[in-house]
Amino acid sequence: MQDGAFTGTMQVMDTTGHTEIKWNKDNPAEVDTARTMFTAMVDAGKNIFEVTGKDNQGRRATEFNPQAERYMVVPQLRGG
């Protein structure tokens, strides 16, 4: 990605704490990669929320929006 590029971020909770996947919104290849990963995670049953604003408002997302600023990917929860 070029410096100063308009990027989106997917923050995926995992064993390392979380992993960040970034894409340049103007780079079709990166957008495609991010979309593929997004779709795979939705299919795997993960909860994906688009997070906006400084107060971190979230909204469930089922389709990838390359213009989104940030997604938070939460694994499935189970009753305990």
Binding site: M13, G17, N47, D55, R60, M72, V74, L77, R78, G80
Partner: protein, 237 residues
């Protein structure tokens, strides 16, 4: 090496040699007092062809003495002790095995340099894994704190809990962060008393606990219905 002979025998458990006396009895060497009592003990036939009728071929051994059995003793012994009879040969084999165990030198296993190197490598790997887990835990907690409001950060730091508002019903939930993420979501009433508890979390091996607490917060705030539907309810006494 003990031997069972026709006229004498060595009894290893007794630690004594016995010799057949001129009569029907056996004498322990050095001689000890024999008794005619029929105290229960172990029957040891002198040889494999011992006949139950040949009283002179039987000896009745306790830790202290040997008795020459009477006819009635033999009958009684036949009835109750038959399975405990051991032939002289079996006795010898038992003694040999016991001696072999005592005599066998202790084997001290020496590790080869390769084995030592492998062990040290495994230890290093273990330490690295532990370090990674610690880093992941710290990263997850920092990720959680970054998503808390100043008020939530304060209570998290001071009391290890924070309160979130359900996105749909505006119910207050207190997420306890004392270590576990099981049954740690208190459902509060208007006076912040606990009505009941909810338990829903990510599988333990998937994410560090900081991520678990953040996942609970995110679900409650952004998809409360899904969380409540998934969670198990724990009543509070």
């Amino acid at each position: 090496m003990p031997q069972i002979l026709n006229t004498q025998a060595y009894l290893p458990w007794l630690g004594r040699k016995v010799v057949k006396s001129a009569g029907n009895g056996w004498v322990v060497m050095p001689t000890v007092t024999t008794s005619a009592t029929t105290t229960a003990g172990n029957w040891w036939p002198y040889d494999s062809t011992a006949s139950t009728n040949a009283a002179s071929q039987m000896y009745w051994v306790t830790n202290q003495q040997i008795y020459t059995p009477t006819w009635s003793d033999i009958a009684e012994a036949n009835a109750y002790e038959r399975d405990r009879w051991v032939t002289g040969e079996q006795l010898l084999r038992q003694y040999e095995r016991q001696e072999a165990r005592i005599a066998a030198p202790a084997i001290i296993r020496q590790r080869t340099p390769e084995q030592i190197a492998q062990e040290e490598f495994r230890l290093l790997q273990h330490k690295e894994r532990e370090r990674e887990k610690l880093l992941a835990a710290e990263r997850a907690e920092a990720f959680l704190v970054a998503h808390l409001t100043p008020e939530q950060q304060k209570t998290f730091k001071e009391n290890k809990w924070f309160i979130v508002e359900g996105g749909k019903t505006k119910t207050k939930y207190r997420i306890q962060c004392h270590g576990s993420f099981v049954g740690n979501v208190d459902v509060l009433d208007e006076r912040q008393n606990i009505k009941h508890r909810l338990c829903a979390h990510v599988e333990t091996h998937q994410v560090p606990r900081g991520d678990n607490w953040l996942a609970q917060k995110a679900m409650l705030e952004w998809d409360e219905e899904h969380f409540v539907k998934t969670a198990n309810v724990h009543r509070v006494a």
